[in-house]
């Protein structure tokens, strides 16, 4: 079996039964972990620690990198510990339908290629992928992050459709959270290309250099950025007996059956709460605590995103 890079070391320290850390003791811990995952997990919980030595309420290290894919109009790479998501936006011109002639549209698609997890088989896509797809497009629409009227070019004739593709490259829990952050980051990075109307009335994109040559530069100045209001951030917590675990990994997700996902926007308002069944029935107090944890996480994510935006701007100007 290909050995995973997870530190068996942390698990040993917490379990306390790992002897002197010799190879035999390490194998016994690994075997216990595979054969009795729930017991192994609960033994950790009793010490208020998780399988990767994190405290219960602490999320994993998060990093955001913008502009990864040069061929796309906006892109971002997000990592929550080992969970890796790549999001990219491509803009195309379309004719808007009659009932929303001054609006553009956004098409969100979330893919889990077999590269992301040993449980995803080629030929049969992961069960959870279309669910996350739908959740993402619901959150984007209901939070009002993007004003669709901003995506309009010529009223009634042409508008942008933003195709957002998110690929999960490594699935290690908290997929929806990472996907949402990558969506927000990609839209932050998005630069709308210049367009003009050609002689036969078609809308063509104009590469930067030809700006002065053609007739009607529709976009004001340079490449335009989208105004994002009410940016949503989310947090998934797992509920196991009476413990709340923030940002679960894939191993934890296989043991825990109940999850609560809370989405908040910049003003701290709750955009959505999602608790799809599960054996733990949550009282209002638990939900309130999840919302508090989500507020903290949203602030953290906002800072990380702002840092990466300023890092990118420094790169561009230098």
């Amino acid at each position: 079996m290909a050995t995973s890079a997870r530190g068996g070391g942390e698990g040993e320290a917490a379990a306390g039964g790992g002897g002197g850390g010799g190879a035999a003791a390490e194998m016994e811990v690994e075997a216990y972990r595979r054969l009795f995952p729930v017991a192994y997990f609960e033994r950790h919980l009793r010490e208020s620690v998780r399988l990767d030595a994190r405290p219960l309420a602490s999320p994993r290290d998060t990093s955001v990198a913008l502009g990864l894919v040069g061929s796309a109009d906006g892109s971002a790479l997000v990592k929550f510990g080992d969970t890796t998501m790549v999001a990219a936006i491509k803009l195309e011109v379309m004719t808007p339908p009659a009932e929303s002639s001054d609006e553009g549209s956004v098409a969100v698609e979330f893919y889990m290629p077999p590269i992301c997890s040993p449980t995803v088989r080629p030929g049969r896509s992961a069960e959870v992928a279309p669910v996350i797809s739908k959740q993402l497009s619901d959150v984007i629409m209901s939070s009002g992050m993007i004003n669709l009227k901003d995506l309009c070019l010529i009223n009634g004739k042409a508008s942008w459709i933003a195709y957002l593709d998110i690929y999960c490259l490594n699935a290690d829990g908290s997929l929806f959270d990472a996907a949402l952050v990558s969506t927000v980051a990609a839209f932050t990075h998005l630069e709308i290309p210049l367009v003009s109307v050609s002689d036969d009335g078609r809308v063509v994109t104009v590469p930067g250099e030809l700006e002065g040559k053609t007739k009607l530069p529709l976009v004001n100045k340079d490449k335009r950025k989208l105004m994002l209001n009410n940016v949503p951030f989310s947090l998934t917590c797992g509920l196991h007996k009476e413990h709340i675990l923030v940002d679960p990994t894939a191993e934890e997700e296989s043991i825990i059956e109940t999850f609560v996902t809370v989405v908040l926007d910049t003003l701290g308002r709750v955009v959505s709460v999602y608790k799809p069944g599960g054996s733990v029935l949550a009282y209002t107090s638990i939900l309130k605590e999840c919302i508090t944890l989500a507020k903290r996480r949203a602030q953290q994510l906002r800072n990380i995103l702002n840092e990466s935006v300023s890092a990118m701007e420094v790169d561009k100007s230098s």
Binding site: A2, V69, S71
Partner: protein
């Protein structure tokens, strides 16, 4: 490689998923190649099983199978999943190079490092590692994959017409490119092993 960005994941050796294909003497090698929708200039909705993907999957599988010591792992399966994030020419070669690194990272026994590189011939000059613009210029495009230390060619593909003597030049150039990549890959693997060793405290 340049603007072509590829990520490869290797799973295995693990239990064969389709028991009817199980081989009692050696490991089964499976490869799946897929391109992200945003990887090329125009966003195209790629069907999973389209012809180009299937062909490249087959090419990568057979190239890697030549190097993996499959008889050491009977009744098991090794999966190589390739995802192209950005395509700017030479995707086949980038995939093979990445697959070699992934297999080495997974600790799967191989005969040698397989590296690959493309070369072409435009305006009477042999060119190494064509990008998309050069490739679409319509000149010949030779892809070579070799087992570096053993100096054996496992993959050779070419389209368009080329006179024999020029072909030899171009192929030689591609082989030199492969060797340069092999040296770089070897350095990276050594560096990685040293880091693993120091982390283990050994």
């Amino acid at each position: 490689m340049g603007n072509t960005r590829v990520i490869v994941a290797v799973y295995g050796p693990r239990e064969v998923q389709n028991k009817s294909q199980q081989n009692n003497n050696q490991a089964l090698v499976r490869c799946e190649y897929s391109m992200a929708n945003f990887s090329t200039g125009d966003r195209t909705r790629r069907q999973k099983g389209d012809r180009r993907s299937t062909e490249i999957s087959l090419v990568i599988r057979q190239t890697m199978e030549a190097s993996i010591l499959t008889h050491l792992m009977p009744r098991s399966q090794i999966d190589i999943f390739v995802q192209v994030l950005q395509a700017d020419g030479g995707t086949r070669s980038a995939c093979i190079n990445a697959a070699t690194l992934a297999l080495a990272d997974a600790g799967i026994p191989m005969r040698d490092i397989v590296t690959s590189c493309t070369a072409g011939y435009l305006c009477s000059t042999p060119l190494l590692d064509l990008n998309y613009v050069e490739d679409s210029a319509g000149g010949p495009d030779v892809t070579v994959g070799i087992l570096s230390k053993m100096d054996k060619v496992t993959l050779l593909q070419m389209d368009a017409k080329l006179p024999m003597d020029i072909f030899e030049n171009v192929m030689q150039l591609a082989i030199e490119g492969c060797k340069a990549i092999a040296n770089y890959i070897r350095e990276v693997l050594l560096e990685n092993t040293k880091q693993l060793e120091s982390r283990r405290g050994g």
